[in-house]
């Protein structure tokens, strides 16, 4: 009973290499599904901040606005302690963004030189978030402690404060060209947009000799000579030539390498990943327990799950109003750095045709300000 044996053993972990931006570790005595869940959660469920809205005042470069907006969105920003240091805009009391749920960065550069100028992430400056009009309401009653949780470089482009790190190239401009841009960075997770992922790569391997036959390799002549054995094979015993196939065997040793983009350190990514998985399970247990007594919304719920579970805040403000309407800036162009937000309606979300709103794509109810979408709850989703 291989499974029984495996369950009785405690999981093990051995870090093989820890660097500033990566960690390599071996996970033992756990299930394949468990290891995979850890991988998935590290890639997609850890919040970071990234530039989400871009207002371009002047762009006389050769690159179109959308191009630059997209590049800005991809710039990793320092997001350590993101859980406590910043809110999701959908959970915030403000309308479209305030100092508690957004960061502002400006890029203001022009070339007056005969040489090509590289505009890089180092030219992005974090400025204090301006007090907007909608901030007069609840924000003063709510002295959030987010600010005190931020480190000195929170929200800064990664590597800006390190002379040895090379910045991210945004554009190249020649004499007479200029860029004047304001960016709003928000908190999000990679399920919303991949730019929020703290991981640039997570490698995951088990069974380097393919003893379990979970894969088959195509080969030309000699399978042994052409077999792409990885470094991890040294950790395991090579199968003998006459070894029969063990159909009860289960993978038991998992080789991870978590590489981050710098927005979070590798240690933070792994620890947050484990915590996030526990949160998911805890809120499921809570949901199971409260399932019996109906109609009682669990008060602890949001707390347990650290905001991820908070339903949208009052009046469905989770919908970002279009950026143009929300500001008084004289922006020449407003481009969004995440596709599918305010762009053309090229979306892959299916709508249930049986729903009462069926086929009502442009027929928004008047209450749904700004967005021509039917009420999200009537979409025929999981109701």
């Amino acid at each position: 009973m291989n499974t029984q044996l495996q369950d009785d053993l405690e999981p093990t972990v051995r870090i093989r290499k820890l660097e500033r931006d990566r960690v390599n570790f071996v996970l033992g005595n756990v299930d394949l599904a468990f290891a995979n869940s850890l991988r998935r959660v590290m890639m997609a469920d850890i919040p970071t901040v990234a530039i989400d809205m871009v207002e371009i005042e002047i762009n006389t470069t050769v690159l179109p606005d959308e191009f630059i907006a997209h590049r800005l969105g991809m710039v990793p920003l320092n997001s350590s302690n993101c859980d406590e240091a910043i809110r999701y805009t959908r959970d915030c009391t403000c309308l479209a963004g305030c100092s508690f749920c957004a960061m502002m960065l400006v890029l203001n550069i022009s070339c007056h030189d005969d040489n090509t100028l590289d505009v890089t992430s180092d030219h992005l400056e974090v400025i204090p978030y301006p007090v907007t009009e909608d901030e007069h309401m609840p924000i003063h009653d709510d002295p959030g402690e987010e600010m005190s949780k931020r480190g000195p470089y929170f929200g800064h482009p990664v590597g800006k404060d390190d002379p040895d790190a090379r910045p991210v190239l945004i554009a190249k401009i020649r004499k007479g060209q200029e860029l004047k841009i304001r960016c709003i960075a928000k908190k999000g997770i990679a399920k919303e947009h991949a730019k929020f992922s703290p991981c640039s790569a997570v490698s995951f391997e088990y069974d380097p000799y393919n003893k379990l036959r979970h894969t088959t390799y195509w080969y030309e002549t000699d399978i042994k000579a052409e077999w792409p054995l990885s470094e991890n094979a040294r950790e395991e015993e090579a199968p003998r030539d006459d070894e029969p196939f063990d159909f009860n065997a289960k993978p038991n040793k998992f080789y991870f390498e978590v590489e981050t983009d710098g927005s979070l350190g590798p240690q933070e990514v792994v620890m947050k990943g484990l915590a996030e998985l526990q949160n998911k399970l805890a809120s499921l247990v809570l949901g199971l327990k409260s399932g019996a007594d109906l109609d009682i919304p669990e008060p602890v719920h949001g707390h347990m799950a650290e905001q991820v579970w908070d339903g949208g805040n009052a009046a469905g403000m989770g919908w970002n109003p279009p950026a143009v309407a929300s500001t008084s800036w004289t922006a020449a162009t407003v481009a969004s750095s995440s596709p599918g937000r305010g762009g053309a309606a090229s979306n892959g979300w299916s709508q249930n045709n049986d729903s009462p709103m069926g086929g009502g794509w442009g027929a928004a109810p008047a209450a749904n300000a700004g967005w021509g979408s039917p009420n999200p709850r009537a979409n025929g989703w999981n109701m």
Binding site: Q6, D45, T116, M271, L288, W349, G362, P376
Partner: protein, 146 residues
């Protein structure tokens, strides 16, 4: 334009219940549990944990449609516990595994921190990946498009 907000696929809406239990009328000790705003990350892990428990006769999960943010998990037990209870046990057990793993990771990280402190692994400057900025164009000339 009228795309639903991205977070709708992973954040519970106001008053939305995270779990829905449908008891099976045709199979004894079986239930289908719908878990909303969760995906394979939780589903597969739970399924695997359930299958390793001796009281389980059947456990399986599916995400019926990739655009519908929920999964359903079907559980049949041998009658000593209800499917609901065993799912709860599975969750608790997984949380236990995760927190023991967390302690181990914390210890490993602190060892590694001590090892590497002072060794400051900073990668040295290599050459410019975007090409070097040598050779100004049209030096000393005026530009029409200036």
């Amino acid at each position: 334009m009228n795309a639903p907000a991205r977070h709708e696929s992973y954040v519970l809406e106001d008053g939305e219940k995270p779990v829905e239990l449908i008891e099976d009328t045709k199979i004894p000790n079986a239930a289908t549990i719908k878990i909303v705003k969760q995906d394979h990350t939780l589903g597969n892990m739970l399924r695997a944990q359930l299958l390793s428990m001796p009281q389980i006769l059947f456990a399986g999960y599916k995400v019926p449609h990739p655009l519908h943010p929920y999964f359903i998990i079907k559980i049949q037990t041998d009658g000593t516990v209800t499917p609901q209870e065993i799912l709860e046990q599975a969750c608790t057990k997984l949380i236990g595994t995760l927190s023991s793993l967390e302690t181990k990771f914390r210890r490993e990280f602190s060892y590694k921190d001590m090892e590497s402190s002072g060794a400051g692994a900073v990668t040295s400057h290599v050459e410019d990946p975007y090409g070097t900025n040598s050779g100004a164009w049209g030096r000393g000339r005026e530009y029409l498009d200036f």
